[in-house]
Symmetry: D2
Subunit: 427 residues, 4 copies
């Protein structure tokens, strides 16, 4: 189901005059302050966020899942859904595949479909946190870290297979979220577990093509509740250091202990040239996988402030970053949730672009704390939505993606087509 | 599958002389200190902890479940499993049923089977956090708190039905863990949600028999990740105050924010005569549902210290407490886990019985903080396991339940009987 | 040192045309959306936040304090400082006094000085967390909760004396932050400590004039690190319920365990008619006492959303609220910090005023979670600073208080007058 | 004031027969299990824990300090106090000096006094978190990380001076707890701050003698409440890696975010050969600096389990560790608190020595989680106090140090000698 571009134009038409007014005022103010608004808009337009293939269906918890209707039942339908999102916001032009949930049956059809929807293939994700049907050995007690070599070999092979799928699709990176860990003191020897994992990582690393990266995600707990092998940024960095240049850390915003200063971790990875990318989401308690920006929008802005500053600094030598969403939409229409998430990410990015980095540096040098805060908050408090809307308008996307999504009755049409009982693979 | 008592005797025989030696030394020391060891042992013997019907199978997380073998496939088999536990430790003589997972088909058969295993029926649990097959309206957005009256009515009816099942079985209390809550700011009006819930509770309360209680469990998050309706002890107490004498708070050890002083909450409920009982487990991060005492055994002891002190104080007027386990056994044999949990609870209880309450009161009055700590730690550091073993010996249970469980190859026999693919209902 | 109003006018003159442009655009948009901008501005103008007398000096930690210059050395100078703040923002027209740090020597002089600066006296604060010179008995092990009656009596007398000072000044409330608690398990009997405290509170309560309130603040830890007597909102509410109508809870934003949903606590107090007021600040880890809105501005907005909704609801019967700042300015000029804090509070309040409550209620009733979030975020993302500036302009305050403060070289003048070594009483 | 050894003998005499009985039973059981009790006791005897020079006085919080009596007013008196502790427990034969609070006036007198008390000099501690009187530039905005080179130079010089004092005394390590950090987003550029700090560390590192170490302590917050430069173990490790072999991480148990798995961090440092030592204490909320083992004794045991396993593993190449206490005794007699802390540390160490490492390894290899837990808990639940008492008896220390301390009226004598108003330097 593709969106007729005429419908988007009609949607925009109705809101155009109000948009123009808001945009013009903001344009004037920003230009007066020395910004090039066209530059800003070009940066906003260029910024693309990958949608994970498992995020198009309704998520659940260990207590159950309440599915919505019209969920995509195949990889093809997932790509179509992302195509719709991308048509609406022109900012979701990438998909991050999860294997084995989304192994392409016919690679050419999938690639064509993606190309038709202007979607590229971002990092591919492996899964060794679940046993697949008829799997010979089990991941119950770990995969890459398992005490049993047979299990480790299976997990290594799976990762290598995921790389192969990725190569065929044009991906350039493998994301490993390793759920391995323990639930009770004494269950594992931390040191031996680390070394077994490192050894497994080496095998996977060796299978990476020259121009590929491996992203090593960290997480302090869940699905294991005492320890995890890649528990924090320090552990992730240690693995990356021991593996080599292609190994980089991946930051999932929800994967931190309470009160963690995430933006400083981002800076640390970046400083070391070891930042691979992000899994964006938001949370109040743990890995809640809520809509990006729904709980702590200022923290999101502070993270982007680190990135914008770092990306423009000659001191930082870091490969290009991957931007991905990783959320679980338990009580919202997943596509609406994704539109909100993309919007929140781009708002934070745009606000960070507005920070006067020279003035900030001066305030920092002088320990003028009040002014440093004023500079950041001035950017954060600016209503940048007209810039995002203008960027979408120029890209022929919808001025207000969620309104357009509802006006065009997209979910209703999907339900009509796919039924109320279709259910996406995923968590 | 019942355990032949002769096998337990044989198991005990082998360990008897070592036990006698350990016990005799401890006996002498405690008697010298003024304790009546026989009194202690009688209290230990009398202390029974209910096993929840959902804890006999392997638990899982939102990322998957790795089942073990020989899991009970019916309520009958669950009662048999608890019968085995009780035969081994004579401390698990109660079951806490979960409806609708474990609705008895033939009430008399179930009651007979329970009686044969010396098991009584503790509080019954309702479930409005999952939709049942062909349910007319959904609990996706709440149950007792739902904005739609039809959903609230369904949830009320279900709770009343659970009470009816409980009456038939001889239970005396309904436990309501209400998962209702919200995932995003703005999703619910906190005040109206509270009032709708209170109204629903009133309907359930009115259906309680004269000699019944309703236990209102609180939990700060999960499965919802922004707010919950009964989020903390204060909210639970508020509902209980508004409902009446039959409404009491229930403390699940894992349902607290980081660093909460749980023992003080226990004291607050007790002081108000509003403590219903416990769901025991342990945790490091959130509601991890780990084996009781596996992470923070000292905290468990401190909770029991509050209970032992309160139960003996004329200032505390509180109904009899319910003791239940609520854990999720993801990587252990559930029956082994339950044996470990019961042992940990009884160790903490016994240690608390050893606290010299008069000396502690004196130290508190004098603000002699060092001595107060010495008194508590003296009790906690005492190895009370010989007392527990002796109590089991006198009750004709196993000196070492877990060793006996393994020696008697109970799991192997269950797997033989039930197969490797049987799977218990539950989470 | 009073500010010459002409200087403020000159400051405003320079920024007027830019302000007018921003304001006009926002005016048009908001009026189009159905808001009465004049009503909004009147509400903003009327909103006054009390400055605590201990916040005019540089704060410290247990590791030391780094004082700034020109700090007020007397109550008179503190009132002058607040007068300056109020002249700049016309939103700080109240002072919250701390006794015994700021006992007025000549009550009439103080009252006149306050009146000259258009400052009224908000809640008075007692202090039983420090021993005063030559105090006969010590608060080392508690005050209102102490095991020794003599200590409790002293603490009660002190609170009654604070009320008397308040009556003379025109205050209408006593704020009690009771630091009493324990550092080690076993140090205190929780129940007896509660009852002793309750008894002490009764004595203080009985000394309250008819039209007074007592605000009972809660805090989970610090300066004691195992338990506190008024540890959480539930404990605060329990005291208030047992005391009577004049007793209300006070919410200090920094006094919560990690991840607490503070806005729901605010709603609970409000629902029960038991909300007294706020100590505003912000924090990342504990009671960090940072500038309001500097870490979690969205949470601040959500709290105000509860208040705005509740204040307009006929279901809520709650006395008028007290708004106070309680922050510790360790690395900023305290007056600049206070200007930033007041601004942040008023921004959050204004954003909350913009929430379309009817649309929100509709979305909540329909469980339209996406729309509920859109409504809140639409308000939060709006740049309301032109409304605040306009309200100040109409009140003859500064368009940009911090810029004015710097342009007018206020701190430099204070240093000249008071020296670099003057040091305010406080923490 | 030295303790007459005859008095200790008299104290022991009274408790000897009960001790002998307890010890003999434990001896028999442990020997039966294959332990050499004499080996255990020799290890216990050899284990010495350094007392920090700032821990002999009553500590405080930012809200005040309630001093006790008889506090040591000079370095000489502090050494005497540690001498008393060491006479009582023969486990505190080291002091960790804090400069500039405890600069020796006459180095030879101090060294002789220490030798007389059988006390050696452990790591020396620098202090750049407070300004000293008449300091030319201020540490208000940092020291080794400061934007101003003059401040960095001062802080570097101070550290080099501390090394010089340490050399004279016979210390072999410098502990740097760097309080540098920021209180507000934007205040510092994380990357530049890191690099300035690294540069300063290099200067200090270069001044270390060949056989010295530098311990780099990490802490997430306090006295700064947004970020710290050495915020976590990952940052500490990064500095150590960049500096060289002499740089090692130091773990203060209280310096972690909520729910951190500290034992895994210990293992990570150890695995990398980068563990310098410990600052022992306990906490419930933050850096509460409570008596060791007073809140989470099982965690302490788990840490020692890592150390005991690692120290015996050929895979671990790590320098000898430093064991230090770092607590703040706000409501206890500091010397009693230190006796309790030392006891708790040695109990945990002894329990860890009892862990059957071979059986544990086997259970880990087989993923027998139940057994792994049984092994650890079996050790933890063993009452090892008779072993500690026997070790003290053989070392001619007191069977029960705290009882002896009280029986001998040590505090009363110190008060008589030093008065009730003496006050130790420190926090």
């Amino acid at each position: 189901m593709a969106i007729d571009k005429v419908l988007i134009d009609q949607h925009n038409e109705k809101q155009l005059s109000l948009h123009k007014k808001k945009f013009q005022t903001l344009f004037d103010i920003l230009e007066d302050e020395g910004h090039s608004v066209d530059d800003l808009i070009n940066k906003i337009k260029a910024f693309q966020i990958a949608i994970p293939s498992w995020a198009l269906g309704t998520g659940g918890t260990r207590f159950g899942r309440f599915s919505g209707g019209g969920e995509p039942g195949s990889l093809e339908e997932k790509i179509q859904d992302i195509g719709i999102l991308h048509a609406l916001n022109k900012s979701s032009g990438a998909i991050s595949l999860h294997i084995p949930w989304d192994i392409p049956k016919d690679i050419n059809i999938i690639k064509e479909l993606a190309a038709d929807n202007e979607i590229v293939f971002d990092a591919v994700n492996s899964n060794t946190f679940q046993d697949q049907k008829d799997q010979e050995v089990s991941y119950k007690f770990g995969s890459l870290s398992h005490t049993n070599k047979a299990v480790r070999s299976l997990a290594i092979s799976h990762n290598i297979e995921v790389i192969k799928h990725g190569i065929e699709l044009g991906s350039k990176a493998l994301t490993v979220w390793l759920s391995d860990g323990s639930d009770f003191p004494g269950q594992q020897n931390f040191r031996k577990t680390f070394h077994r994992t490192l050894d497994s990582f080496h095998h996977i690393y060796d299978a990476l093509p020259e121009d590929w990266k491996i992203y090593i995600e960290y997480k302090p707990y869940e699905p294991h509740f005492y320890s995890t092998v890649v528990s924090d940024w320090g552990s992730s960095l240690l693995f990356c250091q021991k593996l080599g240049d292609k190994a980089l850390g991946l930051v999932d915003l929800g994967h931190h202990l309470p009160n963690t200063n995430i933006e400083q971790i981002v800076s640390r990875f970046f400083m070391e040239g070891k930042l691979g990318g992000f899994h964006f989401n938001d949370s109040k308690y743990g890995d809640d996988d809520l809509t990006v920006g729904s709980i702590r929008p200022y923290q999101l802005f502070l993270i982007f402030n680190e990135l914008v500053e770092g990306m423009s600094s000659p001191e930082v030598k870091n490969p290009k970053l991957s931007w991905m969403i990783d959320a679980s939409h338990n009580v919202k229409d997943p596509m609406e949730d994704l539109l909100q998430s993309v919007e929140a990410i781009k708002i934070a990015y745009t606000q960070a672009l507005l920070v006067d980095q020279n003035a900030l540096e001066k305030a920092q040098e002088e320990n003028d704390v009040t002014t440093a805060q004023e500079i950041l908050q001035n950017a954060f408090r600016t209503d940048v939505r007209p810039l995002l809307a203008e960027a979408r308008l120029r890209a022929k996307a919808a001025l207000h993606p969620i309104s357009a999504y509802r006006d065009l009755k997209i979910r209703e049409n999907l339900v009509k087509k796919r039924g109320t009982k279709s259910m996406a693979t995923g968590l």
